[in-house]
């Protein structure tokens, strides 16, 4: 009998593993809902990269240097 290729065996290993899960299905549902909230709600709408609004590295470093210089307490 011809032996299955390694990628196919790995695929089957995962497929059967997921199929045989009992408690795991509830956990996977929680994980997927959590990841959805994290990446498609929180990250997109509440936690955009603050410096992402600048197009180049040069603009970012200028902005941060201005912030660091202007926030200092002058004597």
């Amino acid at each position: 009998m011809k032996k299955e290729s390694v990628p196919l065996r790995i695929y089957r290993f995962y497929l059967e593993g997921f199929k045989e899960m009992t408690l795991g299905k509830t956990l996977w549902t929680i994980i997927l809902i959590k990841l959805f909230i994290m990446f498609f709600v929180l990250k997109l709408f509440f936690f955009p990269n603050f410096l992402g609004k600048f197009e180049s590295k040069h603009e970012k470093q200028d902005y941060v240097s201005n912030e660091l210089i202007h926030r200092a307490i002058t004597p």
Binding site: F46, F50, L51, Q61, S65, E67, L68, A72, I73, T74
Partner: protein
């Protein structure tokens, strides 16, 4: 020009970060600790071939899986917060923070994710040896994840192996090993991971005691207690050792944190450790002359010994650190806060002048300003400090959190010692009082770990990076109300996750391992 950053923005951003980190740290220690316990149990199964140990390991693996699944990726929210709320910090730290986090993401996480699948799906599908190796590699991967995160955190406590580049306004790593193997990083890694082991040991014997109290799964419970108690005892004794190392490092690198941990305002030679004490709420300022304690019981000379390995060594208090003028352990005279602030202001001005000179293509002046910046960069963060009193962390929270951690640490050594002794003498089953104590000590193990983090993080305020960048300069210019909103979203999200975890775990525990009593 002085730009005022709303203090409520700083407070809410810090509260949000603390909330996220605290919730994340509910899941992580159990992963680190329980992972080892289940691997030890599977190793016994591998060696003996006894199906009892297979079922025992599988039960704890199920609990591990629930905790892992609910907790996975909660740490990523901290990275969201770095990019959104702490953008100046994120830019300023550059690749120093990026490198350990990238290694964590690429190596450790994928290693963990690969082998965890074999651990859960591979029973009866791969060889016993390969399965056992996967179980161990899962926990090795989880521990390596913690390693890189803790290295990044340790760098914030003790910046090493980097140089500030004013052209790009970033710190650049020139010595990876100085970052990865700094004494603070090594100590922090072992101390933190061991605290996870303690949680794992306590969790196992606490849950096993619940079975004993319910008079079910007795054989499984007693076997689990033997391993959990011995593991917890080893962890708690090693924690004593790494705790001593932490105290030594704090004395050397963060003396203000040490002074806050001890409520020490006036330093001196041969300083003792406050065993038990109550801070005086009437003390409002470091130099108001009010006694900082309502009462205290002190162990003479111990702080000098722990901090400097010399019973008569000098330990500076908060007042000394603010006023300076004492001889440091390097033999130099300590600068006052005002002198450090002046140097910090000089460094920031030199940064501004350097960048302006570069813009004007004035290389000669740029060189002069660069030299001034390099000379004073060690005090860069002090340039954002308005009042020397702002350099004092919240003393009450740091002082009491430290005592909670240490007292609980002592309690756990005693508890694990008794539990180990009785379990190996086969006398544990009849000690119902001890079973109740073990069950109710599970939350105490979590509290000890959280208290340790509060000491580490609150005790180093106002710094985001020790001496180099305070939180007031690290923070993004956002609306405080938007941070408030996300704080409550996180509170709701994490609370739901925690309820889900506890609910699913309780259900699995009630169902039990269903191990034969024969």
């Amino acid at each position: 020009m002085i730009e005022n950053i709303d203090t409520s923005l700083i407070d809410w951003s810090r509260a949000q970060f603390a909330l996220t980190a605290i919730y994340h740290w509910i899941f992580v220690p159990l992963t680190l600790g329980l992972g080892i316990v289940q691997a030890v149990m599977e190793t016994i199964y591998y060696k003996t071939g006894n199906e009892f140990w297979k079922k025992t390991a599988q039960f704890w693996m199920k609990i591990f899986g629930i905790n892992f699944a609910i907790g996975v990726a909660t740490g990523l929210i901290l990275e969201f917060e770095f990019g959104a709320n702490w953008s100046n910090y994120s830019w300023f730290v550059g690749d120093i923070f990026g490198a350990p986090l990238a290694i964590e993401g690429i190596v450790a996480f994928f290693m963990e994710a690969t082998f965890i699948a074999v651990m859960f799906f591979g029973w009866n599908k791969v060889s016993k040896g390969f399965h056992l190796a996967s179980t161990w590699l899962t926990i090795v991967g989880a521990t390596l994840s913690a390693l890189w995160i803790l290295i990044a955190n340790a760098w914030m406590q003790f910046p090493a192996g980097m140089q500030f580049n004013p052209d790009v306004v970033r710190n650049e790593m020139f010595d990876f090993w100085a970052v990865a193997l700094s004494p603070v990083a090594i100590n922090k890694f072992f101390h933190t991971v061991l605290s996870g082991w303690l949680v794992g040991g306590m969790f196992v014997i606490g849950i096993a005691c619940w079975y004993l109290l319910k008079k079910k799964e007795t054989k499984f419970a007693l076997a689990s207690i033997k391993i959990g108690a011995a593991f917890g005892l080893i962890a708690s004794l090693l924690l004593l050792w790494t705790g001593d190392g932490s105290a030594y490092q704090v004395t050397q690198k963060q003396p203000m944190k040490l002074a806050a941990m001890e409520g020490l305002y006036e330093g001196g030679n041969g300083i003792g450790v406050v065993g038990i004490g109550m801070l005086n709420p009437s003390k409002k300022s470091y130099n108001d002359g009010v006694d900082p304690f309502l009462f205290k019981l002190e162990i003479p000379k111990l702080l000098s010994f722990l901090g400097e390995r010399d019973c008569n060594a000098y330990i500076p208090g908060i007042t000394n650190l603010i006023e300076g003028g004492y001889q440091t352990n390097q033999g130099t005279i300590a600068l006052s806060a005002k002198e450090k602030i002046a140097k910090g202001q000089l460094a920031i001005k030199a940064l501004a002048d350097y960048r302006q000179a570069k813009k004007n293509k004035d290389e000669a002046n740029a060189k002069i300003h660069r030299a001034t910046l390099d000379e004073n960069f060690a005090y860069f963060g002090y340039g954002y400090i308005k009042n020397p009193e702002d350099l004092i962390p919240p003393v009450g929270l740091t002082f009491y959190s430290f005592r909670i951690m240490v007292i609980l640490g002592g309690f756990f050594i005693l508890l694990f010692l008794i539990a180990t002794w009785l379990s190996y003498k086969n006398k544990f089953e009849g000690k119902r009082w001890l079973q109740w104590v073990c069950l109710w000590s599970i939350p105490l193990a979590y509290i000890a770990g959280q208290a340790g983090w509060i000491v580490a993080e609150v005790g180093r305020q106002p710094w985001a990076i020790q001496d180099i960048l305070p939180v007031s300069a690290a923070i993004s210019k956002l609306n405080a109300s938007s941070v408030q909103l996300t704080f409550f979203i996180f509170l709701a999200l994490f609370t739901i996750l925690l309820i889900a975890e506890i609910g699913i775990m309780v259900k699995a525990i009630k169902k039990g391992p269903q191990v034969s009593e024969q």
